[in-house]
């Protein structure tokens, strides 16, 4: 079996984002998606700190401390982009104006609950940022994560054991093993890694999973 690499996962997400979409890419893994959006496809990247039309990282030496993204990394602004204040920026998110957001996660439940802000550990200092606003605000919430924890447990669960970020908010999950839709009828795998058997995927996932992979349907 050949697990999807992070770049393959990001490329797969990028393929699902159409031209003209307004998109927020969360901190971490989702950031890589930007590298895979074709240059000729106009996609509008939003950053919650007050930026629409975010461009790539600046050349070395061109960094501007006043032009950063939500991860506090230096970025650039595309021609046609705009700046605005925080309440306006979150109005975009909470008012349903973003077409897609892509978030990392600790866990996603079978009903689309998302846990990605807090391990709940006694010693952990919690920090939430804009995660809860993105979870409930975007029209489509995509999650990118490893399918399993380091100890081999499925991160797709019947119910989140970590504190949730939002309820029933995830639409699609991209992992190193599969692409899974959260539907009213339950979880549906729509793609999986080469050499992986659906039965094996279902076993690893550990919660009810339907096979909606095109080749499987065709077969």
């Amino acid at each position: 079996m050949q697990r999807f690499t992070r770049d393959q996962m990001a490329a797969r997400v990028a393929r699902d984002i159409p031209e003209g979409a307004y998109v927020n890419l969360g901190i971490g893994l989702p950031t890589i998606v930007a590298n895979h959006l074709p240059r000729d496809r106009e996609v509008f990247l939003h950053s919650e700190n007050g930026l629409l039309g975010m461009g790539p990282a600046p050349a070395k030496g061109e960094e501007d401390p006043d032009l950063i993204n939500a991860g506090k990394q230096p970025v650039t602004l595309l021609t046609g982009g705009a700046y605005f204040h925080h309440a306006d920026s979150f109005a975009m998110m909470r008012g349903g104006h973003l077409d897609y957001c892509v978030l990392g996660a600790f866990q996603v439940s079978a009903t689309g609950d998302l846990a990605n802000w807090h391990t709940g550990g006694k010693d952990a200092i919690p920090a939430v940022g804009g995660a809860m606003d993105l979870a409930i605000g975007a029209k489509n919430v995509f999650v990118m994560m490893e399918h399993q924890t380091k100890s081999g447990e499925s991160k797709i669960v019947a119910a989140c054991s970590y504190p949730v970020t939002g309820l029933a908010c995830v639409n699609r999950i991209y992992t190193d093993l599969a692409v899974i839709d959260v539907t009213p009828a339950g979880l549906v795998a729509v793609d999986m890694a080469q050499g992986l058997d659906f039965a094996e995927l279902a076993r690893i996932t550990g919660v009810p999973l339907t096979n909606g992979i095109a080749s499987a349907i065709a077969a």
């Binding site: 031209e19 509008f44 629409l52 039309g53 021609t79 705009a82 975009m92 909470r94 349903g96 104006h97």
Partner: protein
């Protein structure tokens, strides 16, 4: 390439359907998208709910839409004016429904729709006829009335300049309801005095970012083009 510029004003309003809720920008005639309203009249959609600060002036623009009997209900703050004869006659005849809203509640309810707020406690209107039947609450010793967002299917607004991404800037007090209506509507249609190339609008100065705007239609209105475009 994304291009929100719609060359024909008729095409811009072609899908405004019977029964739609349509926000119309403007305070009196400042910022009123006269050409879009004319196109809406030509389009012929009926049973509309209109959201505007007023209820038409004279016989043109919103007043003409009312006169054509396309409006079932109007949500506004100040219908009665010296030249609101079209509305006055419809209202007296019982031919139009009026939801009268204090202007600040109107603005804030429109803003709330665009910002995803479910409802808010407003300081305005407590103890008045316009809060009758509404939920109230005392918060920190002060009286508030619960108000709900006003969403719309379409917003028709007027801006000064726009680009193909839908970024807009306005002119003087014609700005008024434009930015908040654009955000509150599923489909915001902006008529602009001029379409400019992407990048012409300074990113620090864009008032309505394109995310809130679905269509931009260039219009040359003689009244406005006669005055200089720089700020006073």
């Amino acid at each position: 390439m994304i291009d929100k510029i719609v060359p024909s004003i008729a095409a811009a309003v072609a899908d405004i359907h019977d029964g739609a809720t349509v926000m119309i920008g403007g305070f009196g005639t400042a910022g009123m998208p006269a050409e879009l309203i004319d196109a809406l009249i030509a389009r012929g959609a009926r049973d509309l709910t209109i959201v505007n600060n007023n209820a038409g002036n004279g016989e043109t623009g919103l007043a003409a839409l009312l006169k054509a009997r396309r409006v079932r209900k109007i949500i506004c703050s100040f219908p009665r004016q010296t030249d609101s004869q079209v509305f006055d006659a419809l209202y007296r005849a019982g031919d139009i429904e009026l939801e009268l809203v204090p202007q600040g509640n109107l603005a804030e309810r429109i803003r709330a729709a665009g910002a995803g707020i479910g409802a808010f406690f407003s300081p305005t209107g407590f103890g008045t006829l316009l809060a009758e039947g509404k939920e109230t609450r005392v918060i920190n010793g002060r009286n508030y009335v619960l108000e709900y967002p006003i969403h719309a299917d379409f917003a028709l607004i007027k801006a000064e300049r726009g680009d193909r991404w839908g970024n807009l800037v306005y002119r003087k007090t014609a700005r008024n309801f434009g930015p908040i209506m654009a955000a509150a509507a599923k489909c915001a249609i902006a008529q602009v005095q001029a379409v400019v190339p992407l990048g012409d609008l300074d990113p620090e100065v864009i008032v309505t970012p394109g995310i809130f705007v679905q269509r931009v239609v260039p219009i040359v209105s003689f009244a406005a083009s006669a005055v200089p475009q720089a700020a006073a």
